[in-house]
Amino acid sequence: MDTGDTTFILICSALVMLMTIGLALFYAGMVRSKNALGTIMQSFIIIALISLEWILWGYSMAFGPDKWGIIGGLEWFGLRGVGMEPHTVYATTIPHQVFMIYQCMFAVITPALITGAFAERMRFGPFLLFSLLWATFVYNPLAHWIWGAGGWLGRMGALDFAGGVAVHVSSGVAALAAAILLGKREGYGSEELRPHNLPMTLLGAGLLWFGWFGFNAGSALTAGSLAGSAFVATHVAGTTGALSWIGMEWRITGKATTLGGASGAIAGLATVTPAAGFVGPISAAFIGVLAGVGCYLGIMAKNRFGYDDSLDVVGIHGVGGVIGLLVTGLLANAAINPAGADGLFFGNPGQLGIQCIAILVTVVYTFALSYLLLKLVDKIFGLRVDLRDERSGLDLTQHEETAYNI
């Protein structure tokens, strides 16, 4: 065991935990003030709910003893056998529980990301149930496939450094299912659904960026060259994501917006996530540019297709995740990370194919399961608040609170 590595992953765990707080603010700033608390609460309570799920069965399903490449067994239910000695495969220089809690924070933020799609209109109870089911039946298997020892996507050679498959594509696709199934908010397209507190959104974006260092660099699981490289790639992609997004805006609407800068940074950070530990800084800069342009166009798509993905989870995490997994197949460089592989541009075209399979599988599986789970919860309990409650806002009707009395 190494005190440097243990420190690194403990602090990175704290950083990733903070991301979900950042996300709560990032999202809440964009909704109308009558839904501010409801929106924050969706992320906040997911920290609690999914962490509990994780220590009970989630970690075991995702990282427990492999069954047929498809799922982890329940041998580690309630963290039985997950002790302080390092695991022999995962993160061998730190206590096993530290690896577990680090992964917990990933399991937490993923369903929180989805909440942006159904913002301002989901009932609290059914939301909790859906999130729990989704974490169990979508996140856990995906995490196992790509990161679990023996998981089939990982064994196939799919490269996903810190969460293209299980985190961004999955949340983006689930978001699409939710946006379609729940339908639009009242007034969408006609009324002014303007952000109520953009400074809060910018603060959230700042905390997300800060925490993302823990997310991506921490995924090296040891504090050495790889962590350094992932850290740099992450920062650079956030940077060029922000710049290219406001560049797009400048061209199209004539002004760069603050929300655009923040959105572009998040797009860059999300997109570089699967690639972070496989690419150098110049590739990362290029990935950020692709992210800014691609996700900006992704967001525009919403208007074309007419679904109300309220806070653009599809456009940013879905599109970003797909781009990120694809470019990993192009730009991965085994010189940066010998445990990885080369991509197309470094002479290994097969990698791109593998990445495509990983994307396809993730999209199909996630969409089908998410739709099913949403439908199920909807049938039994009803997902959507009624119109009167939607007008009054989540804060009053779901929580009997008001955000501001200023």
Partner: protein, 112 residues
């Protein structure tokens, strides 16, 4: 000249504004207010302590217009603001003796 003052539900403002424009109203002034009336307020709970909030968020629209326009204005507001539920609000009509446009000094109807 008259002032028509209407207290309406906030989410109907856009519709009312549109309706008024259509009958030729060129200006109005809006204020966020809180109303107390037959419509019950709501309960809030903070750490177990319940607060009954009697006031409901409303929007006040003020339109100063020629007396001849009043009937039209009232009708538009009634049509556009009515949801049929308690709390739809009120319209009050009051006398105005003079109106002046600050920019030009015009008075009376010309000022509106």
């Amino acid at each position: 000249m008259k002032k028509v003052e209407a207290i309406i539900k906030p989410f109907r403002l856009d519709q009312v504004k549109k309706g008024l424009s259509e009958v030729g109203i060129k200006g109005m002034t809006i204020t966020e207010v809180r109303g107390f009336g037959r419509q019950r307020g709501h309960k809030e709970v903070y750490r177990g302590a319940e607060y009954q909030v009697d006031f409901v968020g409303k929007v006040k629209i003020e339109i100063v217009a020629d007396a001849a326009m009043v009937a039209d204005i009232v009708k538009v507001i009634q049509d556009q603001a009515r949801t049929g539920e308690i709390g739809d609000g009120k319209i009050f009509v009051m006398p105005v003796e003079e109106a002046i446009r600050i920019r030009t000094g015009e008075t009376g109807k010309e000022a509106l």
